[in-house]
């Protein structure tokens, strides 16, 4: 408790908040500088100039840009995300409906990837230089080099198209014949999530392995590992209980950094598998110039990343007593 000063914490929170504000401003500028406007899709060729003017008026596009910007910033501070022209719904409702779906996909991939990755990294780092290490390491690098949509296509082709074991699209069965109870819904979701999660973790676990392997290798030379061996503990106990625990700290940092990487993965995967989440709408929103939705989804993702980074810094001081924050870092 005492290791983090309140002043430092307050400073970090303020800085994170300012970071978010800058990100929002950047988003506003970037999205506005894209060619085309989001009312383009509403305008048909038969409209008179007056009608088009009225549409511009209702969406507030006739205001000067700085006024739009101020309004945008004020609205986001008060949690008013506006209305989507293409989905014809409140953006906030859209996000609330889609966020959990993305989190289910995202979370399960994250958890599975961060169980497999560090475990494999632990073994490879401990026996670095052995034939086993070399072959597994190069294979995993090959996996890491695959484009995620391509490997998903291969999975869909074999498992869905040829073998017909698992569904390849959507989150639920489209016209279910079974009773709609909590159990069947859960089973149905699990059935549909299997293939996307498989494709995403097939590549995703390598990231944490790549961080774990070198740190594990460094830890093997430490004095306390030597001591644990000298005490007569078994190789396995030394590796898991003494070495791996300390090697896990950089992996935790890497987890936060790889959050952003996983977002990319889920953007692609959601599009491949027609998963009705945020990754799917962010792409279509940007391509259709649906600025309210694009801004809101970018904002939510940025919020997620900024908050996670803040939390790790704070949680760190409890994990590792050697780190002291607030004293000039």
């Amino acid at each position: 408790m005492t290791r983090i000063s309140g002043k430092y914490l307050a400073k970090r929170i303020v800085v994170s908040y300012l970071t978010l504000l800058v990100i929002m401003s950047l988003l506003f500028v970037l999205l506005r500088s894209m060619p085309g406007s989001f009312i383009t899709s509403m305008i048909s060729s038969g409209m008179t100039a007056e009608q088009i003017e009225r549409i511009r008026e209702t969406w507030g596009l006739n205001e000067p840009l700085w006024k739009q910007y101020v309004q945008f910033m004020i609205n986001y501070q008060t949690g008013n995300f506006g209305r989507s022209p293409t989905y014809n719904a409140q953006v906030w409702d859209l996000i609330v409906r889609r966020m959990p779906r993305t989190l289910v996909l995202f979370g399960s991939t994250f958890i599975i990837g961060f169980i497999i990755g560090p475990l494999v990294g632990m073994y490879l780092g401990w026996w670095r230089g052995s034939t086993k290490d070399k072959s597994i390491f190069s294979t995993s690098l090959l996996l890491y080099s695959m484009p995620s949509f391509w490997i998903s296509w291969l999975f869909i082709w074999v498992i869905n198209y040829e073998l017909d074991w698992l569904p390849s699209a959507y989150m639920f069965t489209q016209f279910p014949e079974f009773e709609w109870t909590a159990f069947t819904v859960m089973r149905d979701v699990l059935y549909h999530i299997a293939l996307p999660v498989m494709s995403l973790t097939f590549i995703g676990w390598v990231g944490s392995m790549l961080i774990m392997r070198p740190t594990m290798n460094q830890v093997t030379d430490e004095g306390y590992v030597f001591l644990a061996r000298a005490k007569g503990l078994s190789e396995r106990t030394v590796m898991v209980k003494h070495a791996a625990r300390n090697a896990l700290i950089p992996v935790a940092t890497g987890a936060v950094v790889s959050l952003a990487f996983l977002i990319d993965g889920s953007v692609i995967i959601e599009n491949v598998f027609n998963w009705p989440g945020m990754g799917q709408i962010i792409v279509s929103a940007v391509l259709n110039r649906d600025f309210p939705v694009a801004q809101a989804v970018f904002f939510m993702l940025a919020l997620l990343i900024v908050v996670m980074r803040l939390l790790t810094d704070v949680v760190y001081t409890y994990l590792d007593p050697r780190i002291k924050f607030g004293e000039g870092e």
């Binding site: 800085v15 970071t19 978010l20 800058v22 990100i23 950047l26 988003l27 970037l30 999205l31 500088s33 894209m34 060619p35 070399k134 390491f137 190069s138 690098l141 090959l142 890491y144 080099s145 695959m146 484009p147 995620s148 949509f149 391509w150 490997i151 296509w153 291969l154 869909i156 082709w157 198209y161 070198p214 460094q218 950094v257 952003a260 990487f261 977002i263 990319d264 953007v267 692609i268 599009n271 962010i282 792409v283 940007v286 391509l287 694009a294 989804v297 970018f298 993702l301 940025a302 990343i305 900024v306 980074r309 000039g328 870092e329």
Partner: protein, 320 residues
């Protein structure tokens, strides 16, 4: 005459004396590099791709405009209905034409397209990797050298901001703003991928600037610029090469992902564009001979960059 000869002989000797340690160091580095088989494999793959991109015509059986049944351009006749229905044509013996990996739905040879696309991927990988190193390494050096001052603070806050923007959606916005060309895709990838270089280089610099040789350079009156670029940068370069390789691999994959989302440069042959064409023509699960080669080619190029990068990491790791 005699004195001149002895002079040149001395010169030669002194040049050799000057260069011998460097060549020796290079040879030792090369020996350590070849200890890792994956590094050698990566280098071989990359050399093959380099040859492909320099002279695709030598390796490809046809030109990319070749069409099955009709042959090389200029093409005067048209495909018959029956011939069109047989496309995309799987690789098979006894065809009236020669296409080792089959053809795509337009009748172009898949192998030919794969070979001709190497150039684009090579260009994107190397250019994006170098650009992001050119941004990330100097910023990391400056940020680390002026650690705990407002310069460091400003650069780090900027990195924080960039980290808050998810890579791929942000890349889509950047590419959409500037138009879909290969150059803009490279710039977009570079703008979004220099962050890791910057942070790692900063960390290295923070520890390097406490070393005694930096102190003595400072005492000797060297300017900050000189210390950063003459004394610290050479020690940071190896690790930044590792990141260059990784960024190059990431760029190749990112280009394919962009192409999947429909943001490919349609004027240049690329593996991403081939995959996008399979999707848009609806042959993803029907034409395996068209789906698998571009993916494998892409994977091997990214993997070769990773292989080289990770073996470099071992070579340059001072602890081993």
């Amino acid at each position: 005459m005699a004195t001149e000869q002895s002079d040149s002989g001395q010169d030669g000797r002194s040049i050799r004396r000057r260069w011998e340690p460097r060549i020796e160091r290079l040879r030792r580095g090369w020996d350590r590099y070849t200890e890792h088989k994956i590094g050698v494999v990566g280098l071989i793959i990359l050399i093959i791709y380099a040859l492909w991109s320099i002279a695709p015509g030598v390796f490809a059986p046809h030109s990319p405009d070749w069409v099955a049944y009709l042959g090389e351009p200029p093409i005067k006749s048209r495909l018959t209905g029956e011939q069109i229905r047989s496309l995309p044509h799987p690789p098979a013996f006894g065809d009236p034409f020669f296409a080792p990996f089959g053809t795509n739905s337009l009748g172009n040879g898949v192998l030919t397209l794969v070979i001709y696309s190497a150039q684009n991927a090579m260009y994107i990988g190397l250019a994006a990797g170098m650009l992001s190193s050119l941004v990330g390494v100097p910023l990391g050096l400056i940020s680390g050298f002026y650690g705990d001052t407002w310069i460091d603070e400003a650069i780090q806050r900027f990195v924080d901001i960039m980290y808050g923007l998810p890579f791929l959606p942000f890349l889509i916005v950047l590419v959409a703003i500037r138009g879909i060309t290969t150059t803009n895709i490279i710039i977009g990838i570079a703008v979004t991928s220099w962050l890791n270089n910057c942070i790692t280089v900063r960390g290295e610099t923070l520890s390097l600037k406490e070393r005694s040789y930096v102190e003595s350079a400072k005492v000797a009156g060297a300017s900050d610029t000189r210390i950063i670029f003459r004394h610290i940068m050479p020690n940071v370069l190896p690790i930044s090469f590792v990141f260059l390789a990784q960024d190059a691999a990431g760029a190749v994959i990112a280009q394919a992902s962009l192409a999947y989302l429909g943001l490919a440069d349609f004027t240049a042959n690329s593996w991403g564009l081939m995959l996008e064409n399979i999707k848009s023509t609806g042959y993803v699960f029907k034409a395996w001979w068209w789906l698998i080669p571009p993916g494998i080619a892409l994977m091997l190029m990214a993997a070769s960059f990773y292989f080289i990068g990770f073996s470099m990491e071992d070579v340059t790791n001072p602890q081993r």
